[in-house]
């Protein structure tokens, strides 16, 4: 299996991907053949029969039944074959093996939540064991989204009040991008996630650590973990550089300029509100694309994130 991708195709990260690619290249070669046939002939005629001086067409044939039948029937046969190949693979792409591990996916503007059978959940990060069929049962809390993993060649719309599903089997450990591919508003292109394919052992470990979140570690380090695992990291940095959202470095205790001209001091309550109701106070110079984490974080998670952000602010105080 090809894991680096070709000039035109992304890496093939699922079992089905190489089959899709095979069909893709078949169509590509057929297309190139017909393109060369038609445009090549046209170009040749343009050059060969170019008008030089006198008008002198050397033929006035205006039909040829045999030829016309040939160029109707052959393409027809080809497209019927393509239709069957495409359809049979499509059916296999749609019918998940019975023993597939089922994960519930919820889309909402603009993030993905994954609920595992064991009762734990993760945000924008789908962790799956390598070499096992995974079935995603998906629905949306608001508008239509679409779950797309280019490396897996799977894509499915995610609808409100209705379930849709996809399945895949990723044979090798690695990381693959999830991109929302049905237009859903301002944050559509930020609605990204990651599929982390891990070994069986790592998967069990991950399940365990996610089940007892942050037990036995202090709030600050737990917050640091959440910063990555809840995907704050896709939009925020901790080194002062700007991303989609502001950096958390030196945030705590600072005056924040808000859209509309007002100011607010970044205290614990402001941070809390920013996480749970981001649209309430939008930082000046940024787009209001941060999703609400209401319902996705436990009280201790929120405390931990705030503690982590505070720690990034205090460092500055110490340096001064």
């Amino acid at each position: 299996m090809d894991t680096t991708g070709t000039l035109i195709m992304p890496p093939a990260g699922s079992t089905i991907a190489s089959e899709v690619d095979w069909l893709f290249y078949l169509i590509l070669y057929i297309s190139i053949f017909f393109f060369v046939l038609v445009v090549g002939a046209a170009t040749y005629f343009f050059i060969k029969y170019r008008r030089r001086g006198e008008i002198a067409p050397t033929s006035q044939v205006d039909h040829n039944i045999k030829l016309e039948i040939v160029w109707t029937v052959i393409p027809l046969a080809i497209v019927i074959i393509l239709f069957f190949l495409g359809f049979s693979l499509y059916m296999r792409m749609n019918i998940a093996p019975k023993d597939a591990l089922e994960v519930k996916v919820t889309a909402q503007r603009w993030l993905w939540t994954f609920d595992y059978p064991t009762g734990i959940n993760s945000v924008n990060e789908l962790v799956v064991p390598a070499g096992k069929p995974i079935k995603l049962l998906m629905s949306s809390n608001d508008v239509i989204h679409s779950f797309f993993v280019p490396d897996f060649r799977v894509k499915m719309d995610v609808l409100p009040n209705r379930y849709t599903s996809v399945w895949f089997n990723a044979p090798y450990p690695g990381q693959h991008n999830i991109q929302c591919s049905e237009y859903c508003g301002k944050g559509h292109s930020e609605m990204l996630g990651i599929v982390k394919v891990v070994s069986d052992r790592e998967y069990t470990e991950w399940l365990e650590s996610a089940a007892g979140p942050g037990e036995g570690i202090d709030l600050e380090s737990y917050g640091e973990q959440l910063f990555t695992s809840k995907r704050c990291v896709t939009c925020h940095t901790v080194d002062g550089s700007l991303n989609v959202g502001p950096s958390f470095l030196h945030l705590f205790g600072e005056n924040v300029y808000l859209q509309g001209g007002s100011q607010v001091r970044a205290d614990e309550n402001y941070l809390r509100e920013s996480i749970l109701a981001p649209e309430a106070k939008v930082v000046d110079g940024f787009e209001p694309v941060m999703p609400t984490y209401q319902g996705l974080l436990k009280p201790r998670d929120i405390d931990a994130l705030i503690a982590y952000i505070k720690s990034l602010g205090q460092e500055q105080g110490e340096q001064q």
């Binding site: 067409p57 039909h63 495409g86 719309d157 559509h188």
Partner: protein, 535 residues
């Protein structure tokens, strides 16, 4: 030395009022031409802005909310104000009665009314843009479009109104073609452009009402919440998509059939040869028109529609490809052993063949179910339909415009500059959109305001392409406008065409022909009729 006839439809009668109240199909055609070109300019400016924003990831010139409005407006304006009316209302209005040897269309007042309705629709669209704009995409998918802010209702009203303009034109052309053909012009002696306009008109009349109903439902859903598209109230979240594509897929053929008609005129004239497979080309237009009503579900293979439905739609989609393929083969065969004259209209016909073939072939990837899953909703689709709509329809429109320009305005444009313009448009188009196929296969979704770093180089090239394209269009606009006053008088039949419009003066008099024409030969009888180009 050719001269411009002293009295022609352009200068007689004079005055703004005589234009605004005109019943002359040629003047209405010119009014339409100016209107749709204005729309094209506006849509084009939006397109360049989109490409500027996508030059690099993240913010370049605007925020995501503005970006979403801009791409919506680009799509809506290009589709509803430019390309759907496009060839029929501008070129068709001017040349269809001339080609038939008629004095005017069957219902001149209805014709003028259709232009006014178009203008009203356009003004309502402008109002929508300035009173909050729209960020739904030109497809208005629910439930997004029922929830989002902005002037969605005003925009749907605009599209609704434009629909009537489309239906009026369609009805008018159908009756004109039935009733006003010159003596001797049997159905199979009609130019193929007429055949294609006829097939288009039938789709316009049959499909547009469905769009109207869909938009009313959408507006009702937004204003009073009837719940038909709202799952929370027992409605169906994808029903809207079915309704929408039931119109909008046939609409694709409203856009492309007239273009195919133009190409069917250009190729025989500039090859000085009988068209190959006249009947096949004529019939295939109707084959396309008919099957086009049965394939809408190919836009929804991943929308959760049943696998059986997807299977049927995929199959029918492949079938509709065949008549288009047949036409392409026929045009190519017409070139064989012709006497090919590389004038600008013919260069556009070549561009059409080249680009439309790519557009058509890339459709195979999307009709095939398994590959569509990966490619749908990515830049592959964006590139595909730009190759069909712009590489196909716009190239044919430009070809037709350059072909009939001397007839419409009596003057020739600069041959040298028109060649430069064509070359730049062809080059710029390919740089812009060929790259987008690869962006799509690599997985970049469409309607993205920003993108992953891996898509950076290709987006950059695509944006550079849009500048070349823009330059080509600017040059074209300049030499065409310049030719209106300074161009050499073109004469009655500069290209040596055999269809009836070339038998009258350029520009024609208001009543089209001094004496009613009688058909003595078929539209492409280059073997028997004796004509020569005069420039």
């Amino acid at each position: 030395m050719n001269t411009i006839p002293e009295i022609n439809y352009l200068n007689h009668p004079k005055g703004i009022k005589s234009w605004l109240l005109t019943l002359d199909h040629k003047r209405i055609g010119v009014l339409y031409l100016v209107s749709i070109l204005t729309a094209f300019l506006l849509g084009g400016i939006f397109a360049v802005m989109i490409r500027l924003e996508l030059l690099t990831p993240g913010r370049d010139i605007m925020g995501p909310q503005t970006y979403n409005q801009i791409f919506t407006l680009h799509g809506a304006i290009m589709i509803f104000l430019f390309i759907i009316p496009g060839i029929p209302v501008a070129l068709g209005n001017v040349v269809l009665p001339l080609m038939l040897g008629a004095k005017d269309v069957a219902f001149p007042r209805l014709n003028l009314a259709s232009w006014y309705i178009y203008i009203v629709g356009a003004l309502v669209a402008l109002y929508a843009i300035f009173s909050g704009s729209v960020d739904t995409g030109w497809t208005f998918y629910t439930p997004y479009s029922t929830e989002t802010g902005g002037a969605v209702v005003a925009m749907t009203l605009a599209v609704f109104i434009l629909g009537f303009s489309s239906i009026f034109t369609g009805v008018n052309f159908v009756v004109t073609i039935h009733k006003l053909r010159a003596p001797g012009m049997t159905w199979f002696k009609m130019p193929l452009f007429i055949w294609s306009i006829y097939a288009t008109a039938i789709i316009q009349i049959m499909a547009t009402p469905v769009l109207g109903i869909t938009l009313i439902l959408l507006a009702l859903e937004r204003i009073v919440g009837i719940g038909i598209f709202d799952p929370a109230m027992g409605g169906d979240p994808v029903l809207f998509q079915h309704f929408f594509w039931f119109y909008s897929h046939p609409a694709v053929y409203i856009m492309i059939l007239p273009a195919m008609g133009v190409i069917s005129e250009l190729i025989p004239v500039f090859s000085h040869k009988k068209i190959f497979g006249y009947r096949a080309i004529a019939y295939s237009s109707f084959g396309i028109a008919f099957i086009s009503f049965l394939v809408w579900g190919h836009h929804m293979f991943i929308s959760g529609q049943s696998q059986l439905a997807s299977m049927i739609f995929s199959f029918l989609t492949f079938l509709v490809a065949i008549p288009s393929g047949v036409k392409v083969f026929n045009w190519t065969a017409t070139l064989y052993k012709g006497s090919i004259w590389l004038q600008t209209p013919m260069l556009y016909a070549f561009s059409f063949l080249f680009l439309f073939t790519i557009g058509g072939l890339t459709g195979l990837f999307l009709g095939t179910l398994a590959t569509d899953v990966h490619l749908t909703d990515t830049y592959f689709v964006v590139a595909h339909f730009h190759y069909v709509m712009m590489g196909g329809t716009v190239m044919a429109f430009l070809g037709g415009l350059h072909y009939w320009w001397p007839k419409m305005f009596g003057r020739m444009y600069s041959i040298k500059w028109s060649r430069i313009g064509t070359a730049l448009i062809f080059l710029g188009f390919n740089v812009t959109f060929l790259t987008q196929f690869v962006l799509g296969t690599k997985g970049m979704p469409r309607r993205y305001y920003t993108y992953l770093d891996q898509y950076r180089p290709l987006n950059f090239y695509s944006s550079v392409g849009s500048w070349i394209l823009a330059l080509g269009f600017i040059i074209t606009a300049i030499y065409l406008i310049h030719s209106l006053r300074k161009g050499k008088p073109a004469g009655n039949n500069p290209w040596g065409g055999l269809t009836l419009e070339w038998t009258t003066t350029s520009p024609p008099p208001t009543e089209n022909f001094q004496t009613p024409p009688v058909l003595t030969h078929g539209p492409y009888d280059y073997d028997t009729a004796d004509v020569k180009p005069t420039i």
